[in-house]
Amino acid sequence: MTEFAIRTENLTRSFGTVQAVDKLTVEVPSGIIFGFLGPNGAGKTTTIHLLLGLLEPTDGQAKVLGFDTQTQADEIRQRTGVLLEHSGLYERLSAEDNLEFYGRIWHLPPPTRKSRTKELLDHLCLWERRKETVWTWSRGMKQKLAVARALLHRPSLVFLDEPTAGLDPVAATSLRRDLAVLSSREGVTVFLTTHNLAEAEQLCHQVGVIREGKLVAVGCPNELWARNDAPRVEIAGHGFSEKLLVLLRDRPEVTATDVQDSRLLIDLRGDVSIAPLISLIVGSGASVEEIHRDEADLEEFFLTLMEAEN
C-alpha cells in the first residue's frame, strides 16, 4: 500500500470561465477517513470525478493509489468503490441483484459474492429484506445498500459523495455509525465529501476545506480548530463603559472587545487565564452576572474561512 492514497498537485479543472477545481494540492494518507468539506458548488464532486479519471484535468496532475488519473484511470477504478451524488442503485432490481451485478463486475467468485453480500447486509440490518425491489425502500436504506455496494469488492479506497445528504437525523446517524465501524473494520481509506460539519468532526481523521475550487485549509479537525482558535469570553452584566473597553484592549492577552445587548465580548490571545480581566471589570464598577467561555468548533472555523474568503 502506498503512503498516500491520494496525491494531487495543482489539480485544475475549468468549465468555460468557471474554475471548478483551482490548483488543488492535497495529500491523503492511506487508511484514514478524509473529509472534503465545502458548500454546494465548491468543487467537491468535480474533484471526485477527476480522481476517478472520469474527467480530464485542465492542468495539474493527481495520483490515486499510486496510479496517474489521466493514464491509469482503469487501474484506479479497479481498486476503488464509490457512492456518488446519487446512490446509483437499480431500483427495479432487488437489493441482492444489485450486489450480485457489482460482484460480477468485480469478478468475485460466486461463493465470495454470496458470503460478502450476507456479511455486509447483515451488518447493515438489510439481510432480511434482500429480496425486495429497491424502489420500495427508504432513502436511508438505499444509501446503506449503496455503501455495501461500494465496499463489496474490498477496495483500498472508497469515495463517498455526501452519503448522508437528504437523510433524516436518525437515518444519517445510523449511516454514520455504520460507516465508522465498516471503514475501521475493513481498513479502507475513505474520501468523504460533505457540507455537514458535525459529520466531518465525528467521522474524519483529517479534513480539507474547499471553496470555489480552492483548498483553503487542511488538517486534523482539532488542529484546524486550534489553529483558528481565538477564545472568546462572553460576560453578561451591566456598566461596561467605553473606558473599560479601552482598558481591556490595552491588556496583552486581549485582541478585541465589543458590547452587544448587555454582553461584553472579549477575544483572547490564546488559552490565557481570565481572572485578572474579571478583577479589572469588577474594579471598574461594572457588575458581572454570568461568565461564559466559548468553545470554538469546526462550524465556527468553517464559517470564518468562508467569510474570510468573501
Binding site: 470525478h49 476517478l52 479519471g53 472520469l54 474527467l55 480530464e56 482503469d74 477504478r77 479497479q78 476503488t80 464509490v82 456518488l84 451524488e85 446519487h86 446512490s87 446509483g88 442503485l89 437499480y90 431500483e91 427495479r92 432490481l93 441483484d97 451485478f101 457489482y102 460480477r104 463486475i105 468485480w106 469478478h107 425491489t133 469515495f159
Partner: protein
C-alpha cells in the same frame, strides 16, 4: 472482456424481464406482435408462407422495431435513473458496457424474430402441413435469419448512438422513430437523385440477380451500416462526455 459483456447483459436482461414481464410493461403488446406474425399471417398466406418473400421483409422489420424499442433505454434510461455515473465509475471498460448494451438489444430483437419464424412454421405445418413437413425455402430461411440479425444490429447500433446523447428515454425513442422514418425517405430520394442511366443499370442488375442477389445486396448493405454505426458509437462513447451530459 467477454465475461464483462456477459455481466452487463445479465443486468440488462434482468431489468428487461422485470420491465416487460408485466402487462403494463409491454408484455401484452409483445404477445399481439407474436400472434400476428406467427399465427394470423401464416394462417392467411397458407403453405406459401414458407416460400413467401414477405417473410424476408418481416424478418428485417420486426427485429428493427422491437430492438429499437429496447435500445432507447440503454444509456438514456441509466442517465434518467441516475445509475450511469456509478456504472462509469466501475472497472468495466467502455467496450464491455457498449457491447453489453448492444448485444442485449440484438439478442432481444433477434430472439423474438426467430421465435416468430419458428412459431410461424409450426402454425403452417399444423394447419396446412397435410402430413408433410413444410420448411422455409433456402434463401427465405437463411436470408430471414441473417436479415433479422442484421436488422436488430442496425437498430441496436443506431439506438445506442442516439441513446448515448439523449437526456431521457422518451427523447431517445422519439429521435430513433424519426430516424427510422427518415431512412427510407432518404434512400428513396437518394435513389431518384441518381442519373437515369445509373438507375436503369441498377434496376437491370437487381432484376437479373433475382431474389438471392437482392438478399445478398441487402445483407451486404446492412453489414456496412451496422459496422459503421457501431464504430461511430464506440468513438462517441467517452466517459468524460457522458459524465458532463
Amino acid at each position: 472482456m467477454i465475461s464483462d459483456v456477459g455481466t452487463v447483459m445479465w443486468k440488462e436482461w434482468r431489468e428487461l424481464l422485470i420491465q416487460r414481464g408485466s402487462l403494463r410493461g409491454g408484455a401484452l403488446g409483445l404477445l399481439v406482435v407474436v400472434a400476428v406474425f406467427s399465427i394470423v399471417l401464416p394462417l392467411q398466406i397458407g403453405s406459401h408462407w414458407v416460400e413467401s418473400p414477405m417473410v424476408l421483409f418481416f424478418a428485417g422489420w420486426v427485429p428493427f422495431v422491437s430492438t429499437a424499442h429496447v435500445v432507447a433505454d440503454s444509456f438514456a434510461g441509466e442517465r434518467e435513473r441516475h445509475t450511469l455515473e456509478t456504472l462509469l465509475a466501475s472497472r468495466l471498460s467502455n467496450q464491455a458496457i457498449l457491447f453489453g448494451k448492444v448485444c442485449t438489444a440484438v439478442s432481444y430483437g433477434w430472439g423474438l424474430t426467430l421465435l416468430i419464424l419458428l412459431l410461424g412454421l409450426v402454425t403452417v405445418n399444423l394447419v396446412h402441413g397435410r402430413g408433410e413437413l413444410l420448411l422455409y425455402q433456402g434463401i427465405i430461411g437463411l436470408g430471414s435469419i441473417a436479415l433479422s440479425l442484421l436488422g436488430a444490429g442496425l437498430a441496436a447500433s443506431a439506438g445506442v448512438l442516439i441513446s448515448l446523447r439523449a437526456s431521457t428515454v422518451r427523447q431517445a425513442q422519439q429521435t430513433l422513430s424519426i430516424a427510422a422514418w427518415l431512412l427510407p425517405i432518404i434512400l428513396g430520394y437518394g435513389g431518384r437523385a441518381l442519373p437515369v442511366e445509373w438507375r436503369a443499370h441498377l434496376v437491370e442488375a437487381i432484376t437479373a440477380s433475382g431474389m438471392t442477389g437482392i438478399v445478398f445486396v441487402v445483407i451486404a448493405t446492412l453489414i456496412v451500416l451496422d459496422i459503421g454505426l457501431l464504430a461511430v458509437a464506440m468513438a462517441r462513447f467517452q466517459r468524460a462526455r457522458l459524465i458532463l451530459d
